[in-house]
């Protein structure tokens, strides 16, 4: 028997972009790569993987191709990060900051941890993965983006 999916409502700071998604076991993941740290104003980029994501207000967003396979979308009005995704692939996550209700969520995984800002501490209980640990997934993303 699967757990019932929790529905998350989401909004950027100005409200021009809204979204919703669902997950039966939502988790917060954090990326400490240099790109993510610059993109968020400092510290990791944090997100929640969600199913059935619907987004309104995409016409108010701007996409920045940050690598040969990754795209970062932000609200063009207020700057809020909306999501990161693989080029040409569906959106599978929303930026944590978008979510109206973050109660009960925990950071379960951190990636590119060797690049963590010197002042930032690991999240207790979170799996710690290096760039090398992520290499296989990165190769998958590059393959998907090439299609």
């Amino acid at each position: 028997m699967t757990a019932e999916a929790r529905i998350f409502e989401a909004h950027c700071l100005c409200g021009a972009v809204s979204a919703r998604g669902r997950s039966a076991a939502p988790e917060i993941h954090a990326c400490h790569c240099e790109m993510c740290q610059r993109w968020t104003g400092g510290g990791p980029f944090m997100w929640v993987d969600l199913d059935d994501i619907e987004i309104e207000g995409l016409e108010n967003t701007r996409t920045y191709a940050s690598s040969d396979f990754g795209e970062r979308v932000h609200c063009a009005i207020c700057g809020s990060p909306i999501y990161w995704k693989v080029k040409g692939q569906p959106t599978e996550c929303l930026a944590l900051g978008m979510l109206d209700d973050q109660s009960g969520l925990k950071v379960t995984r951190e990636i590119f941890v060797e690049y963590r800002a010197p002042w930032a501490a690991p999240c207790e209980g979170a799996e710690q993965r290096t760039e090398e640990d992520e290499a296989e997934l990165k190769a998958e993303f590059e393959e998907l983006a090439r299609d």
Partner: protein, 146 residues
């Protein structure tokens, strides 16, 4: 008050906006208000006091006012947060994420801590200030001659 000569460079994710700043010290602030949490994609906004600020690429900066006293600046191309400042006042703090070198920096104070999300622990050693305490200080500051 002694002046430091800790001059650091920085840039947004795409490089359209670059900065040079002289840091006041190595301690910086983390703001947990709901606006900052949305603005940064989650978690607090990390801001550091900077003097002699030089910003290049101003044509790539877009500002947004989420409140009646604050102003937020982002790069139009990549969305990176650049700074928050009081409307009509000089820029005094910049986003820590801009800095190329963050060695030696530490979170010295946390504000709007009553809005900190439950998944985030208190940062050990940092002073803690609630929304009410912060706004009271802001009110005093705004009443001072500019």
């Amino acid at each position: 008050m002694g002046e430091t000569s800790d001059i650091r460079t920085g840039h947004c994710l795409c490089g359209a906006v670059t900065v040079t700043a002289r840091l006041h010290g190595t301690g910086f602030e983390a703001c947990h208000c709901n606006m900052c949490q949305r603005w940064t994609g989650g978690g607090p906004y990390h801001a550091i006091r900077a003097a002699d600020l030089e910003i290049r690429g101003e044509e790539n900066i877009r500002t947004f006012r989420a409140s009646d006293h604050g102003e937020r600046a982002n790069c139009t191309a990549c969305g990176s947060p650049l700074y928050w400042r009081l409307q009509g006042r000089p820029i005094r703090m910049i986003a820590v994420g801009l800095l190329d070198d963050q060695t030696g920096l530490h979170i010295a104070n946390e504000i709007f801590v009553d809005h900190r999300p439950e998944w985030m622990p208190v940062h050990e050693g940092a002073t803690q200030e609630t929304e009410a305490e912060n706004l009271a200080q802001l009110k005093t500051y705004l009443e001072m001659p500019a």
